[in-house]
Amino acid sequence: MSAPEPIFCTRVVASPAALDALATDAVALRLAPDDLLLVGAVDVRPDDPDAIVCRDDGWALRRMTAAEASALVADHGDWSVPPAGIAQGALAGLPVKLLIDPAGDALLLVPRPYLADAVERLP
């Protein structure tokens, strides 16, 4: 497993319907019905005049396998990881996002201000 590193993301806040209709090839984490996090710089235009689309430097990312993600959560979290999709919750006291892809890869996203804590706490 690599150490987490700061990344650039694109954040899209818009009506749930506008996000549902959004098509993108980017790695996408639906954080809430009206909140979408896309990994990388992505040009998207949701169908919502009040949508907020902006670059989001607030994250650090670490790649791992789904099995490693499950083990990490078993060691540091009191919830379990779904077979695929997004999972959000506390890991070693840090608010993290996990994206499990059915092929067996996983992404761990940590808010950038907690990057140093994540390095210390999630070996």
């Binding site: 700061p6 650039f8 954040r11 806040v13 818009a14 009506s15 009206d34 909140d35 919502d48 009040d50 949508a51 907020i52 902006c54 670059r55 989001d56 430097d57 607030g58 994250w59 959560v73 078993a74 060691d75 540091h76 979290g77 009191d78 379990s80 070693a92 006291g93 840090l94 808010p111 950038r112 201000p113 907690y114 990057l115 140093a116 804590d117 706490r121």
Partner: protein, 866 residues
């Protein structure tokens, strides 16, 4: 045997171990081969494999075990071969296989994949009922050195499989008075200090080579260990449908039943080193294991902990040499039950035991009630049993059920007449009588007045006797007292396993500050530079030149949507709708009670879109606050917290604007204006404010570019002797301008009026807003205290110092600083009003403090607008 090296080794072994060299033998290695080390050094005495691959293995056969390179290591002799299903693994196999933490759980963890692989290789499908060959062996050659441990400073040998208690008995040491009474974890008698951990149950702790044991004795006070090694303790979470505590026949049957119904099962047993310390809401079990703390999350918990044998209460019942039937079995199995031990019949209750330290005789009553004395060196008792139900009682109200003898109700013993009733605390039957006479006649008062039942075994042993005593004295049988965690004592480090202090956030400039020699401080949940080592110099750079500060920790929020204006009008006590794009407006945040809980600025990007800032400490709550009220008001808005995504650097000082011009900002915005611009090649939202009292430009930018922007500003400002300022200097700078810090200069009940900030509230703005009702009501009540500015000659008094008036406390300082530019100390303070007015002077720190108008510096705001 083709390999001559192995054959030579075999002959050597035969000579050493007196075996006929013609005896056939096998040679093989473990999968993985390094496990052979565990045979030599780790007490591994068993192995298991797929039965389909092991039909040649028989008891009595010899094997030369090979290492990874195929070299011979040792000779073993198989002592038993048992074929049973994977599910029915013998309970001691976790321990005997010697791997990991030697628990059965660990055994399953490593053997299931192994057996699956072997099944695959044999064209079989692995299942719970797959047959496994369970083989036990002994090490024949080289003879393993007898393992030793240190007990009370003495090195003693022990046998493989010994518990610490048995090892002590084997060496002729006794685990403390009465120390082998139950050998099942139900009494406090064998408590020892094991590797610096006091109150360890010697009977449940497997003896391991190199252990350090000190005998503690029942009720003995342990000494705090001189060495408190920082042993990292791991923790792990397991999830299942059913957790079964206890792997006796009942527990195993319950587990099988649940498995048959398709439910996932986790089985736990203290004999496997898995001690359930507590049953918590969930249900969740906290389990101590030798390898760390286990959190077992179950849908249902089945407690099958069985029953514990009743312990005797009579004179002499604390002597050594008394055994429950189970303890006698353990000692007998180890060949340690002394000859001359007698057995009392079922239900025979001794009148007393005789002896000094150890039992020498037992007195019972015969059929006609006459005392009969039998000399002995040990007594095996059979007093019946009581449910071991403390975990089940802890789980009352949760999906936790007891099964088997743990769920049965036992008859109370006869009321004890004399002797120690609670071995943990040394409480005697006389003590019970004494407090009864004093009016302590219910179970809970009884317990508190004697402390009986509050020791290491948490009443498990004494409770039946206490209840029997109360029933005999008071008639009614009283309920058991509350069962609370912990049932098994965890160490502090075990309890803390997997738990961290709250994290402290870092800005993207954290390492930059450290490289500049900053002392970092926790402030509002962030690490912030407190000072770069010369606070006065930092202050002067702001007042006289140019300086930069990291304000990335400010809360930042975007709000857009059709109801954005209406929503913010209800949130803020100042007008929002009339705010023009390009303007910055300072705003207080009020709660429903009209109290100030945060402040910040409002910027309008366009008709339906706003950018808001909040204080560092208030930022984490701001998003929740806005979302809550947006829902409560039914406002259609989009909200995005930008705090982590955006960095912010404050460029401040008389030469700040000039610096920014050199950095590409041709027309820096005027006071309380904002503009988007590129500074040093970095796109920024620039906010012109005046918190420090000097022209200040907050540059909000993508956090990924913070370091680049900071370095560029420092380089561009080198000619102006630019230097960064820390928080300590900032707190002083703003104080001279009379700006409050929410949380420092406010209290939980600070209204805008108490802060002298009525100007920040517009009751007539034409919109209802949070706190408006409350302010209307409160404003009719005479004001009692107000935040004022004070000046004192000389050094600054302590922040928080009381304001005195004729010896009475009339308020307190909230912020203080000796101002180098003003030549005196300036203070913000809450001052009580007397007859509707703030008195002109107070005594502070033995000096006279004069009330003055705010701000202390630049009242016309000439500098800040320059």
């Amino acid at each position: 045997m083709a390999d001559e090296g192995i054959d030579a080794f075999w002959r050597l072994a035969c000579a050493g171990a007196e075996i006929d060299p013609a005896t056939p033998y096998d040679a093989w290695s473990f999968a993985p081969p390094p496990l052979v080390d565990l045979v030599l050094h780790g007490g591994k005495r068993a192995t298991s494999g797929l039965a389909a691959e092991c039909h040649d293995d028989v008891a009595g056969g010899y094997s030369v075990l090979l290492d990874a390179a195929g070299g011979p290591v040792c000779v073993i002799r198989t002592t038993s071969v048992e074929v049973a299903s994977y599910r029915d693994v013998p309970p001691d196999f976790g321990w005997l296989e010697g791997e990991g933490d030697r628990s059965l759980r660990y055994w399953r963890l490593v053997h299931e994949p192994f057996l699956r692989e072997r099944c695959l290789a044999n064209g079989l499908e692995f299942a719970d009922d797959t047959l496994v060959s369970y083989q036990r062996f002994e090490l024949v050659w080289p003879a393993a050195p007898a393992p030793t441990l240190t007990a009370d400073g003495r090195e003693i040998a022990f046998a493989s499989g010994d518990s610490v208690a048995v090892a002590l008995v084997r060496s002729g040491l006794h685990p403390g008075h009465g120390g082998t009474l139950c050998l099942a974890g139900d009494c406090p008698n064998c408590l020892c200090v094991i590797d610096d951990v006091a109150y360890s149950r010697a009977c449940l702790t497997p003896a391991v080579a190199g252990m350090r044991i000190e005998r503690q004795g029942a009720g003995g006070t342990a000494v705090v260990p001189a060495v408190a090694a920082d042993r990292a303790v791991g923790s792990r979470h397991l999830h299942c449908d059913v957790a079964v505590i206890g792997r006796g026949a009942t527990g195993r049957a319950a587990g099988d039943e649940a498995r048959a119904a398709g439910r996932s099962v986790i089985e736990l047993d203290q004999l496997n080193g898995e001690e359930v310390a507590g049953v918590y809401q969930g249900p969740r079990l906290l389990v101590r294991t030798p390898s760390g703390l286990l959190h077992v999350h179950a849908v249902e918990v089945i407690v099958a902990t069985g029953a514990s044998e009743e312990q005797p209460v009579c004179p002499g019942s604390d002597l050594a040499g008394l055994y429950t039937a189970a303890a006698a079995e353990v000692l007998d199995g180890a060949g340690l039950l002394p000859a001359g031990t007698i057995r009392l019949g079922a239900g025979v209750r001794p009148v007393r035991f005789e002896g000094d330290g150890a039992v020498t005789g037992v007195v019972t009553l015969d059929a006609s009630g006459v005392e009969v004395r039998q000399p002995c060196v040990g007594v095996v008792l059979d007093l019946g049993s009581h449910p071991r139900d403390s975990l089940a009682r802890q789980g009352a109200g949760l999906p936790v059920r007891a099964v088997g003898s743990c769920a049965e109700i036992s008859a109370l013993p006869p009321a004890p007449a004399a002797g120690v009733v609670c071995a943990c605390t040394g409480t005697t039957v006389d003590d019970l009588a004494s407090v009864w006479e004093r009016g302590f006649q219910t179970m809970e008062l009884f317990k508190r007045a004697t402390l009986a039942g509050t020791g290491t075994c948490q009443g498990a042993a004494c409770l039946p006797h206490l209840r029997a005593y109360l029933a005999a004295r008071g008639g009614d049988e009283q309920p058991a007292f509350t069962a609370r965690p912990l049932t098994r004592q965890m160490t502090m480090m075990e309890a803390a396993a997997g738990t961290w202090h709250p994290p402290t956030r870092r800005t993207a400039l954290h390492e930059t500050h450290r490289a500049l020699g900053a002392r970092m401080e926790r402030f509002g949940g962030w690490w912030r530079p407190w000072t770069y080592g010369d606070t006065l110099g930092e202050y002067e750079a702001v007042r006289a030149g140019v300086s930069i500060g990291d304000v990335s920790t400010l809360g930042k929020m975007l709000v857009s949507g059709p109801d954005a204006v209406g929503f913010l009008e209800r949130i803020y006590p100042c007008p929002v709708g009339d705010l023009e794009p390009g303007r910055v407006r300072y705003a207080l945040l009020l709660d429903e009670r009209g109290y100030v809980f945060d402040d910040g600025v409002i910027i309008r990007d366009d008709e339906r879109r706003f950018f808001l800032t909040f204080t560092t400490g208030g930022a984490s709550g701001a998003e929740a606050w806005l979302r809550d009220w947006a829902e409560a008001f039914g406002c259609d808005v989009r909200l995005l917290d930008r705090t982590a995504a955006l960095g912010a650097i404050n460029v401040t000082g008389p030469r700040a604007a000039a610096l920014l011009r050199r950095c590409g900002l041709d027309t820096p915005p005027a006071f309380l204006r904002t503009a988007d611009a590129v500074v040093c090649g970095v796109p920024c939202r620039v906010l012109r404010i005046g918190f420090t009292g000097e022209p200040s430009f907050e540059l909000h930018h993508d956090a990924g570019r913070s370091a680049e922007l900071w370095e560029a500003l420092m380089a561009a400002g080198a000619a102006d002797d630019i230097r960064p300022h820390g928080l300590e200097a900032l707190l002083a700078l703003r104080l001279e301008k009379g700006h409050i810090i929410v949380g420092m200069d406010t209290d939980f009940d600070s209204t805008p009026r108490r802060l002298g900030m009525e100007w920040a509230v517009r009751m007539d703005k034409g919109h209802d807003f949070l706190g408006r009702d409350a302010l209307e009501r409160i404003d009719r009540i005479p004001l009692d205290r107000r935040l004022v500015g004070l000046e004192v000659d000389g050094d600054a008094p302590v922040e928080g110092a009381p304001l005195l008036d004729g010896g009475a406390v009339r308020g307190n300082v909230t912020s203080a600083w000796r101002s180098p530019v003003l030549g005196r100390a300036v203070l913000l303070a809450f001052a009580d009003l007397v007859d509707g007015a703030v008195p002109p002077t107070f005594e502070v720190d033995g000096r006279t403090a004069r009330v003055v108008d705010l701000p202390f510096l630049d009242p016309e705001g000439v500098r800040v607008r320059a």
